[in-house]
């Protein structure tokens, strides 16, 4: 993906891959902070189920899978499009569920996930990122 973005949409796919990697990194940071420094989060917030520790792990793992999906898209695998959509949707639901712990972080990651779903749905059929 060095240059030659002639076809419209291939740029969006590259953006989707970068955003997947980026949102995944944010989710991993989010998860690690929840596990190691819970005071960062809103005290006594309520969760859909379980507690901050559980949600920290869930989002840490979802973030790691998201980063893997980003590599899948860059490599041009045809399954990576649907895998990316699926993972981004799961990550967004994960953020939705513990939004009370730190609303702004969750909102940011959620928004990026929606952008990724947009890019992969609308431009995902163009045969991967152009070389």
């Amino acid at each position: 993906m060095s240059n030659g973005y002639s076809d419209k949409g291939t740029g969006w796919l590259g953006f989707a891959a970068i955003m997947l990697g980026f949102a995944g990194t944010l989710a991993v940071i989010d998860g690690i902070v929840a596990l190691s420094r819970s005071s960062f989060y809103v005290a006594n917030s309520h969760f859909v189920f379980s507690n901050l520790h559980t949600w920290g792990w869930i989002n840490l793992i979802l973030g790691a899978i998201t980063i893997l999906a980003a590599f899948g898209i860059v490599s041009g695998a045809s399954w990576a499009r649907w895998f990316g959509i699926f993972v981004a949707a799961l990550a967004a639901i994960g953020q939705f569920a513990w939004i009370q712990a730190y609303p702004f972080w969750s909102l940011m990651i959620f928004t990026l996930d929606i952008l990724v779903i947009y890019a992969l749905t609308v431009y995902g059929g163009k045969g991967g990122v152009q070389a």
Binding site: A89, I93, V122
Partner: protein, 131 residues
Amino acid sequence: MSNGYSEKGTGWIGFASIMLAFAGTLAVIDGIVGLSKSSFYVAGAHFVFSDLRTWAWITLILGAVSILAAFAIVAGAEWARWFGIIVAALNAIGQLGWIQGYPFWSLIIFTLDILIIYALVVYGGKKGVAA
């Protein structure tokens, strides 16, 4: 819809159906949490009418109908476009009605509903998702 997104707009229809199913899932989660874990919501919140329980049921049912509408759009049904627009609008109004219960969740689902209405209004006439 594996590839060949030649015509502009078919991707947006795919995005609309995924977002309908996604916003529907969020609304179902929202409703279930409203019924099973009311402490998640703002204590002493006021609603347009009735109480948290009623609104949770309304949201749960609207979410389920949204998911059905998503399948109808993927199936390419002619009526699905308008059905999707009406369901998304109802869902958005529903979220408006109980926004005080949990503002961030309502705002997120509301925003997704507006995106869905945009996609279906602007690109809905293109005969469904491209094969």
